[in-house]
């Protein structure tokens, strides 16, 4: 049972929902990434999603793309990222998963990537460009290594396929709210609440919902039907301010923002 499985078992038993922030590793540098991750844990976040910068991310909107570009311009490399994660995970109460393209995993070698990530204290991976038909080689290794392979379901996924995806996923299922790329949205598709609720009835796997979420009212809307909510671009946008603001201020800003969303989540439990 991975750290992710344990977490959701506890949360479900307690009737609690999880809050999952996303940030980009190495934006603007890995020391600041460490500081933000610690801050997120102190604020009561449940699982942290760390984006591994990639040169050609096709599922990401302008905010996360720009953060990947900033990190890569500073020549952040996978080895450095894993070393900096390894330095904080032993004292971190919050499990970490990476959002990482299959291009990077394939290049490292599947076994190699999983064993290095595990050694750094990472609990799983979300691989946004690995559909279920191509996932078997990595899924086999992840099951053997008790490393969560979190797969995605979208509004374009037919129900039968969604169940097949749920069967091959571990940790949780990532439900994408919109047909589109990452980024904050003023309004979410009205069908999303029913769609998530319906899928949740047909799988034991916890379901976390992401893409487009940034506001307390969206958190209140989705919390009743999901096991957890994922917020990315709104956090990355605040971190981007670190380029020309004192870092302590940015840290405070990110911290109070997630506290506000967590409060909305608690109110909806």
């Amino acid at each position: 049972m991975s750290a992710i499985d344990q977490l959701f078992q506890q949360r479900r038993a307690a009737g609690r929902k999880a809050f999952l922030p996303f940030l980009t590793a190495g934006d603007p540098d890995l020391e600041f990434t460490q500081a933000v991750v610690r801050e997120l844990a102190q604020r009561g976040c449940d699982i942290c999603e760390l984006g591994i910068p990639y040169s050609d991310p096709i599922a990401d909107g302008p905010v996360i793309q720009a953060s990947y570009t900033r990190a890569l311009e500073h020549h952040v490399q996978l080895d450095d990222i894993l070393r900096h994660i390894q330095a904080i995970t032993p004292t971190l109460a919050m499990p970490l998963v990476t959002m990482v393209t299959y291009s990077i995993i394939y290049r490292q070698g599947l076994d190699d990537y999983v064993s290095r990530a595990k050694a750094a204290g990472i609990a799983g991976a979300i691989v946004p460009d690995l559909p279920v038909e191509e996932a078997a080689p990595l899924a086999t290794i992840c099951r053997r290594e008790d490393f969560s392979l979190i797969q995605l379901v979208t509004p374009t996924t037919p129900t039968e396929r969604a169940l097949r995806i749920a069967d091959s996923s571990t940790g949780f299922l990532y439900y994408v709210t919109v047909t589109g790329i990452t980024g904050e949205r003023a309004a979410l598709p009205p069908a999303i609440v029913d769609d998530v609720a319906k899928l949740r009835e047909s799988t034991h796997l916890p379901i976390c919902v992401g893409f487009g979420i940034s506001r307390p009212e969206q958190v209140r809307l989705l919390a009743p039907v999901a096991d957890g909510l994922i917020v990315g671009s709104a956090i990355v946008r605040r971190i981007a301010a670190a380029a020309d603001r004192p870092r302590a201020e940015v840290l405070q800003d990110v911290g109070s923002y997630v506290s506000e969303l967590i409060a909305a989540l608690r109110a909806a439990e």
Partner: protein, 410 residues
């Protein structure tokens, strides 16, 4: 270079298989959002292939609208200058819109209409695919958005103008290297949000399954015509076939019908750029390793982490870090040999063809001409080399003038 074990050719097996694999290569590495549209496209294409009405409509368009068959032309003065084998040019430059790209965009536009799509998007490098897509969309009354890197917009201005005249919207892409690779990224992002009503007309034999197969099949008219014309005009098949390879669509279309004719050697020519150093060329089959880019597994220029490397070519259409998966398969099986041609060599071939034959070739195609000239010089006069002249060079005139200007000033 990376170590690869030689794989043997799977004789008689249909390529690609059901999962879009050419041997190990290909596949479908895309966000879940796109998988339903790709499955629908694969299904629809299978039906269209077997549909006589679809095939007849496409044939008629290729004949009366594109002007096919394109001629196979004996370049006598160029051959004489090389002093060896005879060079024959497959004149895709004479097609409507000036390149082979129209073969694919008409086919895919018919598919889009079959699927009930009401909008088309495309990426373009040199602008040839953009113009061919804009043309097909104008012909069938579909709105069209073309993504093009800002650097390519600068160096291929005439094509940008043409696309706009044809009613397409050209959206500049300012991310990354601001070339073809970034244009593909941006088109994919558009498709992520518009997939319900939009068809993405990919312009090369790259991307997720079923694109490499569909584009190859629509381009295979090049090779089929060439075989027939060789039998008519030469009385036999050629001794060698040469085509340039960026993503590799004209080469795939030329080579595919010849693959089973194992006596005919096939040569692909990648962009050698300024040198063999990383960042100086766009030749993944020569200098890259297998990896994943834009939805399929194929040779690619990547660093040790898996980040896509910057590439360079004087020719915008070849300035791409990846290559179609079937080319990777042909490379590993040894069926096709892939060489490189540098920027300066391509420019020299451009001049030679202009002066000897009165043909301005696209800079992309000039890479293939250069390699054919080099090989012709080493072979006897009774041999025949066919070169795919994939496009015409009007679009490059201003950029070539700018490069010459730069040279006289430095």
């Amino acid at each position: 270079m990376c170590e690869r074990t030689k794989v043997s050719e799977a004789g008689g097996v249909q390529m690609p298989d059901q999962r879009g694999r050419f041997g190990d290569y290909g596949g479908r590495y895309v966000p879940e959002t796109l998988t339903r549209a790709l499955e629908e496209l694969a299904r629809e294409y299978d039906q269209a292939r077997a549909d006589q009405a679809f095939q007849s409509e496409l044939q008629l368009l290729l004949r009366d609208y594109v002007g096919r068959p394109s001629p196979l032309y004996h370049a006598r003065r160029l051959s004489a200058q090389c002093g060896g084998a005879q060079i024959w040019l497959k004149r895709e430059d004479l097609n409507h819109t000036g390149s082979h790209k129209i073969n694919n965009t008409l086919g895919q536009t018919l598919l889009a209409l079959r699927m009930g799509k009401t909008r088309v998007i495309a990426e373009t490098g040199a602008g040839q695919h953009g113009v061919a897509t804009a043309t097909a969309c104008a012909r069938f009354g579909l709105p069209c958005v073309v993504y093009m890197g800002a650097e390519d917009i600068r160096r291929q201005a005439p094509n940008v103008f043409s696309m706009r005249l044809l009613g397409a919207e050209v959206r500049p892409v300012n991310s990354g290297s601001r070339t073809l690779r970034d244009a593909v990224n941006e088109a994919m992002r558009d498709w992520m949000a518009s997939v319900e009503n939009t068809h993405y007309i990919l312009g090369s034999v790259v991307g997720p399954h079923p694109f490499p197969r569909i584009v190859r099949d629509f381009q295979s008219v090049i090779g089929r015509e060439t075989m027939r014309q060789c039998r008519e005009q030469l009385g036999r098949l050629p001794d060698l076939v040469v085509a340039c390879v960026g993503g590799g669509s004209n080469a795939a279309g030329m080579f595919h019908p010849f693959v089973a004719e194992t006596d005919v050697p096939l040569v692909g020519v990648e962009a050698g750029g300024r040198s063999a150093g990383t960042g100086d060329h766009a030749a993944p089959l020569n200098y890259g390793c297998p990896g994943i880019l834009h939805g399929s597994l194929s040779y690619v220029m990547q660093d040790a982490d898996g980040q896509t490397s910057d590439v360079h070519s004087v020719s915008a259409g070849l300035d791409y870090p990846g290559v179609g998966p079937e080319h990777s398969y042909w490379k590993d099986t040894g069926r096709v040999t892939y060489s490189v041609c540098r920027d300066d060599e391509a420019l020299a071939a451009f001049d030679a063809l202009a002066h000897c034959e009165g043909i301005l070739a696209a800079l992309e195609s000039s890479h293939a001409v250069s390699q054919a000239m080099r090989l012709a010089a080493t072979r006897p006069a009774d041999q025949a080399i066919v070169v795919c002249l994939s496009g015409r060079g009007d679009k490059d005139a201003a950029e070539i003038a700018r490069l010459r200007e730069g040279r006289t000033h430095t």
